[in-house]
């Protein structure tokens, strides 16, 4: 009997082993087919380009980063609000003014959201806007150079979170404050006087269609609540803007509990065309406000900061029909308009449903005065009167919604860690995929525009525990790319991101790539300290300032020997890169520099200030591996005691010590 059992067991084992091995011999198991397929969908072979530029906010690193889709490859980090020692952004004399504010030099920020410029609601590939959540600012990045070319500060704002969302033709970039604050003459007030003294301001920043220059066109004074996100109307709702709000409880402490008391907060609908009418009728009020406006000049390669002193304001509590509130459960985060402009999707981040509002019904409700009351003098439309319908039980903690071209919406769910696809018209849930983990925003190429390209949705996740090799207490954050071309979403790529992306947009490469700047033309360089040829390289003394007009070309710096600098001098190295060849930056670094190095693009002039603190001979060199003789691209600057009579002199290639044979 015992023998029989053993025999049976062994037979079974052999059969099992045979099956296992036999399956292993198959060319491809079903699982490996789908995985292989996924990888190939994200692979961009040499000789091919990615289909989309993915412009990603850096969150607390204050920068934007540029990825390719579908490859997920990081192409560039663009310094915006934060100093970047890699390139000298915020350290070089030319870029320091770009980070000037009414609070002085603010060398960092928290860049949350991206808005790509649009014309007729479609991406036009001109500019990318980013918001500074901490010291309220909006930046404009030129998509030709991928450089920050303008930063505008927002007065009367406590934190620019609800920004930089744009209208259909980039008429306006909006900037809504996350923190209501006391403003004007009455700012030294008890925090407990929140309801009385604190106001939330929304800025409408106009954008010059010709050159992109920003200007605060007007500010709306609104009740003291927190503004979270926003989207412009489009198509039929062009002329309106929708903002999500939270803390309509007007709490000023322990918001974790006190700002979640009401089961509904508001979506604020703004009729900005009406605001324009009031301004034309002279109803705006010019009020004092101090804020910086910093603009980059492409020809002088220099930023200029101007302090502005006034702003035009409108008070919607007095000027009727500019704003309306719509109740929305529950501390809504996302407030997204679909490509037709008819539907506005509120995402109550603490809710387990998604309300979808109808622009047509909102208009009817306003016409019929279908209000449930007022909040701080502003009419509140009845929830049901504005509602198209609710997506029931879609998941937990809806945050943000984008759209494809087929009438479908994709909503991220932080708490249940998933993306849910649903139909905007029928409100029916069509598909769901897990994300890894705790997704914040998501992004569909063209998803916020009137012309979504669809194809992919990217999840930006907060938590990657167990997804990547551990790296101590802090783990990288990640993005996941899903193919949405079919009925079911399919995960095809998982890639780490830099900083903490809050939001991103993607734009077809063909709208950006052809316009990309390769070099700055030397003949257009109007920098006052440019040396446009080695013949112009020189050193000039102005009091205790020593200006070095330096040139860089493969593979030497001119001058590379400098003497006559004295302790107490401030040395300005104005480095002009004489290359007129794509992707040949030169760097410049000097020993003991208390700021950074600089990277100088072909045809550009950039200045590094250096104040020597001791006497001696200090090396300097090119930091960018520019050629086979990059390591030879170096020089010396001699610093003598204050009052020394060492004459100012400079040279490159001049051998003075013939007797010793040095240099021969």
């Amino acid at each position: 009997m015992k023998t029989k059992i053993i025999y049976r067991t062994l037979t079974a084992l052999v059969v099992l082993a045979t099956v296992v091995v036999w399956q292993g011999c198959k060319p491809k198991a079903p699982a490996s087919i789908s995985m292989g397929d996924a990888a190939s969908k994200a692979y961009v072979p040499p000789g091919k380009y990615d289909e989309f530029y993915n412009v990603v906010s850096g969150g607390f690193n204050g920068q934007m980063s540029i990825y390719g889709l579908p490859s997920g490859r990081l192409f560039r980090i663009i310094p915006v609000f934060s100093q970047f020692p890699e390139s000298g952004w915020g350290y070089s004399e030319e870029t320091i003014p770009m980070l000037n504010t009414s609070h002085g030099f603010v060398p960092w920020d928290d860049l949350h959201h991206i808005a790509l410029s649009t014309t007729k609601g479609e991406h036009d590939g001109r500019w990318a806007f980013g918001n500074a959540n901490n010291t309220p600012r909006v930046a404009r990045v030129d998509m030709k150079t991928f450089k920050t070319v303008e930063i505008l500060e927002l007065p009367n704002s406590g934190g620019n979170h609800s920004s930089p969302f744009i209208t259909e033709n980039t008429e306006y970039v909006v900037a809504g404050t996350r923190f209501s604050v006391p403003v004007g003459d009455k700012t030294d007030v008890p925090i407990s006087s929140f309801k009385e003294n604190f106001k939330g301001y929304i800025s409408f920043i106009s954008v010059d269609p010709a050159d992109g220059k920003m200007k605060i066109a007007f500010q709306l004074k609104t009740p003291g609540v927190s503004f979270d996100l926003a989207r412009a109307g489009k198509g039929k709702s062009h002329g309106w803007f929708f903002f999500s709000t939270y803390n309509t409880e007007q709490a000023y402490t322990l918001l974790e509990v006190n700002a979640s008391q009401k089961d509904k907060d508001f979506i604020m609908a703004v009729n900005w065309k009406k605001a324009e009418e009031y301004i034309r009728a002279g109803k705006g009020q010019i009020t004092k406000a101090k804020y910086a406006h910093n603009v980059w000049d492409e020809h002088t390669h220099t930023g200029v900061s101007n302090i502005m002193n006034e702003v035009l304001q409108l008070d919607p509590a007095e000027l009727k029909d500019i704003i309306y509130f719509i109740p929305c459960p529950k501390s809504p985060h996302g407030c997204d308009t679909d490509p037709t402009g008819e539907y506005i999707v509120g995402s109550g981040k603490l809710a387990a449903l998604i309300p979808v509002f109808s622009f047509t019904k909102i208009q009817q409700a306003i016409a019929n005065k279908d209000f449930e009351g007022e909040f701080a003098g502003i009419p509140v439309i009845k929830y049901e009167a504005a509602l198209h319908g609710e997506v029931k039980k879609p998941g937990l903690g809806p945050l943000h919604t984008e759209f494809d071209a087929n009438g479908n919406a994709y909503t991220s769910f932080f708490v249940s860690s998933e993306i849910v696809k649903w139909n905007v018209q029928s409100l029916e849930v069509l598909d769901r995929v897990p994300t890894y983990y705790s997704i914040g925003h998501l992004s569909v190429p063209g998803g916020p525009t009137t012309k979504p390209y669809g194809k992919y949705v990217v999840a930006y996740n907060k938590i990657t525990k167990d997804r990547y090799l551990p790296t101590g207490p802090e783990l990288t954050q990640s993005a996941q790319l899903y193919d949405i071309s079919g009925d079911k979403m399919k995960l095809i790529l998982d890639f780490p991101t830099t900083g903490e992306p809050h939001y991103a947009e993607s734009i077809p490469a063909e709208l950006v790539m052809p316009n990309s700047t390769k070099i700055y033309k030397l003949e257009e360089n109007k920098h006052p300290y440019a040396a446009l040829g080695e013949g112009q390289a020189r050193v000039e003394r102005k009091g205790n300032q020593v200006h070095v007009y330096m040139t860089a070309i493969r593979s030497h710096l001119t001058p590379d020997n400098i003497e006559g600098v004295k302790l107490g001098d401030e040395v300005y190295f104005h480095v002009t890169n004489l290359e007129q060849d794509w992707d040949v930056p030169h760097g410049f670094a000097v020993k003991g520099a208390n700021n950074a190095e600089i990277l100088v693009m072909p045809g550009e002039t950039t200045t590094l200030k250096w104040k020597p603190l001791s006497i001696g001979v200090f090396p300097f060199y090119c930091t960018d591996f520019c050629s086979a003789l990059h390591q030879e691209m170096q020089g010396y600057i001699r610093v003598s005691p204050a009052g020394s009579n060492v004459p100012l002199k400079f040279s490159t290639g001049k051998i003075e010590d013939q007797a010793s044979g040095a240099g021969l």
Binding site: G24, V415, P434, I463, D466
Partner: protein, 181 residues
């Protein structure tokens, strides 16, 4: 036995690749599944792990599993979870739990569980008598605090445990959301 191992080895040899693949896969395989599967014995327990480690909450854990809410509650939160004991579930009419945990009744079960969760950490000192909380299910619960004794919709709070992503209050009665008709 030896003989059979030999046979296996012969089969394996016949397609050498199999052996190699198996070895590679066994080196560094990440656990599949959601956040609840993250292996971490160093951090403070999250609210799910607290419930799992409690012998008095096996029914609740089974319900969370049936509702597929284990991963959600392993999330960053923050959560306040009102956790009925096994005895609390036993007070329900016979067969209720069995019915609710059937796949067909998942949404109903989810609504009940959502009624036990508030997004936000409400520590005992923050609780005020008469305070209402709007739960994940979008329905309100009312808290009472009298002489340090806390109840929620009349259910007694028997104790609390602080987790990494929230706080768990142990309660003696299952909370049933108001009927919306």
């Amino acid at each position: 036995m030896k003989k059979y191992i030999l046979i296996l080895a012969v089969f394996a040899f016949a397609c050498g690749q199999q052996t190699a693949t198996t070895e590679t896969a066994s080196v560094a395989e990440a656990p599949a599944g959601g956040q609840s599967n993250v292996k971490d014995d160093d951090s403070q327990q999250d609210v799910v792990k607290i419930a799992v480690s409690s012998p008095d909450h096996t029914t609740l854990v089974a319900a969370l599993k049936a509702a597929e809410y284990v991963d959600a509650l392993s999330n960053a939160g923050p959560f306040t979870v009102f956790a009925p004991t096994n005895a609390a579930f036993d007070k329900l009419p016979a067969g209720t739990v069995e019915t609710l945990t059937k796949p067909a009744n998942k949404e109903q079960l989810r609504t009940i569980l959502e009624y036990h969760v508030y997004v936000g950490v409400l520590t005992e000192n923050m609780i005020r008598d008469g305070m209402t909380l709007n739960q994940v299910s979008l329905d309100n619960v009312t808290l009472s605090k009298k002489d340090g004794k806390i109840t929620i919709n009349g259910a007694n709070v028997l104790g609390s445990a602080r987790g990494s992503n929230g706080i768990v209050y142990i309660i003696d009665t299952v909370l049933l959301p108001p009927d919306k008709k």
